[in-house]
Amino acid sequence: MSGTREGGWYPLMLSADLEPGTVAGSTVLGRDLAVRRDREGQAHVWDDRCPHRGMRLSLGFVREGALACLYHGWRFGADGRCVHIPAHPDLSPPGTIRAAPLRVAECHGLVWASVEEDGPLPEVDAVAWVPVRSLRIEAPWQDVARAVGVPDGHRAAVLDRDVEGRVLAALLPVREGACMLHLLAAASAGVERLHDLADWGQDVRARAEERAGQVFLAGVVA
């Protein structure tokens, strides 16, 4: 993925889709991540693997400001260190028991994580962006980027579409042949415009998947 101007920063999800006190999963280039927001609103991104038994932390839940693993309830604080082991409530867990945190940033209405080498965050007009939606697309991210008009070498861009109002598109490569497309609109957009953009996203998805030979049609089998 080198060659992109955004260095190692990847747009995981819309900020609006990560509510305080919740944890979600995300996958970047086949690497599974747990994304959570604490009660104070700060986002954290860790590898999606409990250091205890390898359980996916994204299946867990937030308790007392810490992320609790669903398997044995081990809890991990903001820096990834284990703070509580329910089976040994009096034990102060050693600092070596630690989930692996990634660098995280929030801007332009998106949660970003630094997955590879550091680099600058993508430069986007610092206007207020309102979330439209995210779509999973079973097609290569580069193909979707080209289709919506994101310049080569970028994962996010303000689109130059011949419609009124600006659109921010950001692409997350999930794995080979699958990506997430995040869409946001300039804050001046009305509800009708947001619906139009959401429909447009579905259209982009359908076309990209048709090119990739992927068809997901409900109702065709009993």
């Binding site: 999963g25 999973r136 947001l194 997901f216």
Partner: protein, 208 residues
């Protein structure tokens, strides 16, 4: 209301639909366990005498047997306008999603059963594609609903449509679909989980 009786399989998501709705309504039913896996009891003469087509669950309500989740949910929602709106347009929207839950969305249930009990991988089958397509219809609808500030499938509060649709989304990990591909569904699943009286079934985590 005379005693409610539910012929029920703990692992079956259709039965769970009705158990969940009963719990949200604060109702208790006497449960009669039906041994589907491995017993195959749904095809026994005894059960077929209760449910001629072998449909689960069977709800006995006001002395009447109702077979299948869709019918049982409607029977329970009857006379409760907060769960089943009376105005024709809103009723029609709920009916639309109940039909969807009993129709195209069945692909998700079949996928889950194949993965849990069938013993064979079903990676790229037509059935999986139809199941993903059905989940996407829900995801797309909820993404649009959110743009106008809506949380639920129809109207301003949960309806019986949300209950009919819920298990397919909550259990999709059992056949390999991750919530990360469905952010709108994930938000809605959280909203359903937050309803007073919410209960889980095997496969839906209980955070305790």
């Amino acid at each position: 209301m005379s005693e409610l009786v539910l012929h029920d399989d703990e692992l079956d998501e259709d039965c769970y639909r009705v158990r969940l709705f009963l719990s949200l309504l604060g109702l208790e039913a006497r449960r009669v366990a039906v041994d589907v896996v491995p017993g195959g009891e749904q095809d026994s003469p005894g059960f077929r005498a209760v449910s001629p087509a072998g449909l689960l669950p069977v709800l006995r309500i006001d002395g009447q047997m109702v077979c299948g989740a869709g019918g049982a949910l409607l029977a329970l929602a009857h006379g409760r306008p907060e769960w089943l709106p009376e105005a024709r347009a809103a009723f029609a929207r709920v009916a639309h999603w109940l039909q969807f839950a009993g129709g195209p969305l069945r692909a998700t249930l079949l996928m889950r059963r194949a993965c849990l009990f069938g013993g064979v991988g079903d990676e790229q089958s037509a059935r999986r594609r139809a199941a993903v397509g059905a989940l996407r219809i829900m995801e797309d609808h909820l993404a649009h609903r959110r743009l106008e500030g809506g949380t639920w499938f129809v109207g301003d509060g949960p309806t019986v449509a949300d209950i009919a649709l819920f298990p397919a989304a909550a259990l999709c990990r059992d056949w390999g679909e991750e919530y990360s591909a469905y952010p709108a569904l994930r938000r809605w699943v959280r909203a359903v989980r937050g309803l007073p009286g919410f209960v889980t079934m095997p496969g839906i985590p209980d955070y305790g």
